[in-house]
Symmetry: C2
Subunit: 410 residues, 2 copies
């Protein structure tokens, strides 16, 4: 008889977006004429940079001729892309990353979900709260998180990030092994300075922990003092894995390309205390369970680093950041307390009058016909907060702010 | 302190292809003028069908305009592709598969490696021997396979497939839970008739086992009586998952697209004997750890099913099968015992004079300057066999056969 992996049964359903869908559908049925503006889901809407389009047309043509046809890609990605990553994302910031420390993939979601496979079953994980759900869920499926109650897993260390601590996580009281940090943060939009990030690198070095640093929103950083890579911090190559993605940088959510950096200095241990390098372990994992990213897509990603590509990417980021600024300023002008939106495409707002997240969701939908995401969906410390995204188009963003001002009764 | 997943350390290195590479490099250094023909690796060489090229150009253009731009794809694949899969790969063969039973992915390697996550830790796996290494290796990494010695894992049931049993696996003596069947087989090229396959479906039904049916080489089936899908067998929807891939069907090894069918009738059990459907369990797995396949690639895959696409795919398959036939006939004409090559792109040959697989590798390389794959690399029962691939071009294939006839001293 074949048994199920019972850890998979522990995972609560994706109630957040299912519940949002249900409530929106019910509202539309009762109000068929309502013109709903969606500022909920974190998906991009602007087209790909023309440099990527042109590069992918060329790559498609390469696949049509015997002489230029490409079979199986390298598991770790093509050198033409990895060399650009090293030059633009690292060398230009004074960081030395070697070619065999970069692994191209189909998405940061896959990478951040799969990375836990490398670690021991009893590793204790720590996450900021609120948080992107994949970090915890992938560990639930691996059987590391214990029991679920009141929105929390018994074996997970939650690091509350609220307005009270300015969304800066404090070091955990108990020892933890795997520390997931997402900066700029989804959903709060928080960033840390180099000094603040160094506290975490030092903690990891002292405790032989590993930091899993998700910088999927790095392209949205506007402030000079905010580090773009954890490797800007001294000692980080000994303790941190960095995840990057083209999804939000260049509109690749539907094109699918990302990468992860695993420095060769980074080690974990056997129970006998023997060091094991994570870099070759990940290579082995990818070589066994993954067959590389489409040639066409990797050529598209390479073009992001061309002169034209860089210009076009910056224009799109500026478009979204303008939306963010419109939302931020608009909401502040009517007395709503707003966070994020400066180095991130998300606006994290405090719900007015101490409303709970879902209460405000219903109110915003019924009064202003706007869909957002209840903060509590990202974790217990998200209660009383609400996320709005800047990934819509300018017209809808302006209209949404106007509705906040004129239709919402607060 | 962060510990390593010790199961990952158990995995032996990919010694097969590393060793091949090492021996070829050494030979080339000593014989720089040698014109080596490579019939080793199972990668395609013909360009993509023009129907796919045209569809992908159009899809790239879709990504360049706001109106047609695509963000996050559905985790399970776009309906436009799934509907074609259902119509062409199943309905035309009288099989009823529903839209939510098909899951599009980036490759059958990912799918066949990840599927084991759904099953209990103590599931016993059975594999035919020789076999595609991913089935066993993914279970090694999950900690299911026990200890390794003499090319075998203590907790894996090996089903020998040799000339003595006509490469038809016998039912296991002990009860097994997960049965990996690859048909047409890589590396032996074997197929089973419906009656032979029904034996396995009946075994699985009786023992509540799950068959993991990898039909990546389905497009190469030429004989009328060979089933194209395990679902042609009565009762298979209750016991089997089917993996398909466009890699060998349409030259997608570098483009990356595949799919898996998980019927809703298929159940596994909790220790209390409660039934759990694998279909929704896989959806949840994919939704948590995967973010779908590139829109551009899915449009390319869709075009395989167009009238032009079908015609072009058949031409390419015929090209490779002609190579297979040239190798098969050529080798038989000099008295070599040959298998496969009729419903598969692989020729599985018995090494002459009882040579071991590596001995023959060296002989073939030094005398004929041809690289193939030693059969023992696919498992202990591959000892004394050797794999040649039909995925080269016609000229090299003809030249290789000529060298077998004129240069090889047997």
């Amino acid at each position: 008889m074949t048994y199920v992996n019972v850890n998979h049964l522990k995972l609560p359903g994706n109630y957040l977006f299912a519940e949002i869908g249900k409530r929106v559908a019910a509202f539309k049925e009762q109000n068929p004429a309502a013109d709903i503006i969606r500022l909920g889901i974190g998906d991009v809407t602007r087209p790909l940079p023309m440099a990527c389009i042109e590069a992918m047309h060329k790559a498609v043509d390469d696949m049509s001729r015997v002489e230029t046809f490409k079979g199986y890609p390298e598991y770790e990605g093509y050198d033409f892309l990895i060399n650009k990553i090293i030059e633009f994302d690292y060398k230009k910031r004074g960081i030395n990353i070697e070619i065999d420390e970069v692994f191209v993939s189909d998405g940061a979601k896959s990478d951040t979900a799969n990375i836990q496979e490398l670690f021991g079953q009893n590793s204790r994980i720590a996450v900021t709260d609120p948080v992107y759900p994949v970090y915890v869920d992938s560990n639930v499926m691996a059987g590391r998180t214990g029991e679920y109650s009141n929105g929390k897993w018994s074996n997970v260390t939650y690091l509350p990030c609220t307005a009270e601590n300015n969304f800066i996580p404090e070091l955990p009281k108990e020892k933890v092994d795997l520390i997931y940090l997402c900066l700029p943060n989804n959903p709060t939009g928080t960033t840390l300075t180099k000094e603040q990030l160094k506290v975490w690198v030092d903690y990891a070095a002292k405790n032989k922990s590993v930091i899993l640093f998700d910088s999927a929103y790095e392209a949205f950083i506007t402030q000079e003092e905010v580090p773009h890579s954890i490797y800007e911090i001294e000692g980080a190559k000994e303790v941190a894995i960095e995840f990057r993605s083209y999804s939000k940088t260049a509109g690749f959510t539907g094109t699918r390309c990302a990468y992860v950096v695993i420095p060769k200095e980074l080690k974990v241990y056997t129970s006998e205390g023997e060091e094991v390098g994570l870099n070759r372990l990940w290579y082995r994992r990818q070589a066994t369970k993954f067959n590389g990213v489409s040639y066409i897509v990797q050529r598209g990603a390479e073009a992001i680093y061309s002169e034209e590509g860089q210009k076009q990417v910056k224009e799109t980021i500026a478009y979204y950041l303008n939306n963010a600024s419109i939302i931020k300023n608009g909401l502040e002008s009517i007395g709503i307390k707003v966070f994020g939106g400066v180095n991130a495409p998300y606006i994290w707002m405090r719900t007015p009058n101490g409303m709970d997240s879902w209460e405000f969701f219903d109110k915003l939908l019924s009064e202003a016909n706007i869909v957002g995401t209840p903060g509590v969906g990202f974790g217990p410390s998200g209660q009383g907060y609400f996320r709005l995204t800047a990934f819509g188009n300018l017209e809808n963003t302006l209209a949404a702010v106007e509705r906040f001002k004129t239709r919402l009764k607060i």
